[in-house]
């Protein structure tokens, strides 16, 4: 009886150990891919059309979902914000509330979450399928480095696209908020814009938002690239990798957001 219990406990501990080792190995492999992507980035800039093509697929093709989402998020923010602010007689501050919420938090975070769902999954599936159909092996056998040719241009495309998409998200969100607050609810237009202008700081709000979006861009793109590269070369493997991209990217973005916000509020 005791032997059975000891066996079960040792199997449990060994299982936990194996999982931990696998996680640490993946973390190391991901970090290695990130370093290699930086080392082999020269080609992405020397032949910038490769990076431009990926910017089109990851950035431009994500525009619709970003703009539509931003519009609705801005409108909901204005509705909810007005509902609360009017209780305290400060409904004119609605413009500030919408702008700060978007520029500081919702712009970078929601853009990163949407980016992970739209572009991240596409990157993982594409690279996973390239691996499954031996396209990456073919490249290797042609003496063409897949990290320089496939990973680096997609990495820089993600890093460049994310801040632009986040800025667009904030701008369209503010427009959505304006349309609800001013023409629909009747908040004074001058107060809406002037309070926003007076209270949104370039250094503390806009630059910090841009920093966040760049960090999220690095994280989301690297996770998508690594999951694609590490996917087992089967249909099931690619499907699991795509799911992992969304889950890990979303959790990483939310975790990083907390860490970055803490630093930005302290500094």
């Amino acid at each position: 009886m005791i032997n059975i219990i000891i066996n079960k406990i040792s199997r449990l501990l060994s299982g936990i150990g194996h999982r931990m080792i696998a996680r640490i190995w993946r973390l190391g492999a991901g970090a290695r891919l990130f370093i290699l992507a930086i080392i082999y980035s020269g080609e992405s800039f020397k032949r910038f059309h490769l990076t431009l093509r990926e910017i089109y697929f990851t950035g431009v093709m994500s525009l619709l979902i970003i703009i539509v989402s931003a519009f609705f998020v801005g409108m909901v923010l204005a509705l909810q914000g007005y509902n609360t602010l009017q209780k305290y007689g400060s409904s004119e501050a609605i413009g500030v509330l919408v702008a700060l919420a978007l520029v500081r938090e919702l712009g970078p975070v929601v853009t990163a979450l949407l980016f992970a769902g739209r572009a991240g999954t596409a990157i993982t599936a594409e690279i996973g399928l390239m691996k499954t159909t031996e396209q990456l092996s073919a490249m290797e056998m042609m003496a063409v480095n897949p990290i320089a040719r496939v990973v680096a241009p997609r990495f820089w495309a993600g890093v460049i696209s994310m801040p632009i998409l986040a800025a667009l998200f904030s701008m369209v969100g503010v427009l959505g908020g304006y349309l609800v607050a001013v023409p629909l609810i009747g908040v004074d237009e001058g107060a809406f814009w002037s309070q926003m202008q007076a209270n949104v700081d370039v250094r503390a709000d806009i630059i910090n938002g841009v920093i966040k979006s760049v960090v999220f861009g690095v994280a989301c793109t690297m996770i998508a690239l690594f999951e694609g590269f590490d996917a087992p070369p089967t249909a099931e493997g690619v499907s699991h990798a795509t799911t992992r991209t969304v889950v890990i990217s979303s959790l990483t973005v939310l975790g990083l957001d907390f860490v970055l916000t803490s630093f930005m509020l302290v500094v």
Partner: protein, 264 residues
């Protein structure tokens, strides 16, 4: 100077404690078409990957043009690979590039040739495989046989010294099979290259190969010219060449007693 462009010397390779190859010796003379044959899972494709330096041997070595592959730096391996072309089992065409761009890919990536010359060379290569007229197609618009021919044009784009073929006849209709078969031989002779074919299609391989190695249980079990092997009395070779259901490779995978399993 050796007349063998590729030499495999006492090569062993394994993973997870299991040896896939146990002390294999092979030579691939310049200008010849040499086939490696054997059942599924016998490690034939792995041998190609070892020659290409994509994996390292556990023991022994592979020499390409006198250079020990696994001792090369990354740049050294890439330098060796520039002298090789490889046709993958399903073509491995880049699905986001057209037929033209697929064949032009190694030229654009590895040479500084002007675009006008690349255009002429691509059309030449596509003409050699009979698909000049399909240069604007995307890979998804091609049949299996056509995709294999485009991949062949891409594999010989830079006139390699060694051309490796991984199951070039698998899944093709008889016409496409005949076309690929003829192309392998004619391209090899026209380029003065050495071809290494990994296959289990006896008829087509024997038609074009100068020499054949049989691999089973991690070892070279037989070797010789196709004529020699057709006459071979070795049980495994006889079963393989004549496609017999039962023999040294049993029809039934190892299992417990049939009756006991059904009743138990």
């Amino acid at each position: 100077m050796t007349s063998n462009i590729v030499e495999i010397d006492n090569l062993s390779f394994g993973y997870n404690g299991r040896l896939l190859h146990k002390g294999i010796n092979m030579v691939f003379p310049k200008g010849k078409v040499v086939a490696i044959m054997g059942g599924s899972g016998s490690g034939k494709t792995t041998l190609l990957r070892l020659i290409g330096g994509q994996i390292k041997p556990t023991k022994g070595e592979v020499r390409v043009d006198g250079h020990v592959v696994h001792e090369q730096t990354r740049d050294g391996i890439y330098q060796l690979r520039r002298t090789m072309g490889m046709l993958f089992q399903h073509g491995a065409l880049f699905t986001d590039l057209s037929v033209f761009d697929n064949v032009a890919f190694p030229m654009r990536e590895l040479t500084d040739l002007p675009e006008s010359m690349i255009r002429d060379l691509v059309l030449l290569k596509l003409n050699a495989v009979g698909l000049r007229g399909a240069h604007k197609f995307m890979p998804t618009e091609l049949s299996g046989g056509m995709a294999r021919r485009v991949a062949l044009a891409r594999a010989v784009a830079l006139d390699p010294n060694i051309i490796m073929y991984d199951e070039p006849f698998a899944g093709l209709d008889p016409i496409s099979m005949g076309v690929i078969c003829g192309l392998i031989r004619s391209l090899n002779d026209a380029l003065g290259a050495t071809s290494i074919i990994v296959s289990h299609d006896v008829k087509e391989t024997f038609l074009i190969a100068d020499y054949v190695y049989f691999v089973a249980n991690g070892e070279v079990t037989a070797e010789g010219t196709p004529e020699d092997l057709m006459q071979s009395t070795l049980p495994f070779v006889h079963q393989f060449v004549h496609g017999e259901k039962d023999g040294p490779v049993p029809f039934h995978y190892a299992a417990p007693d049939y009756r006991a399993q059904l009743l138990g």
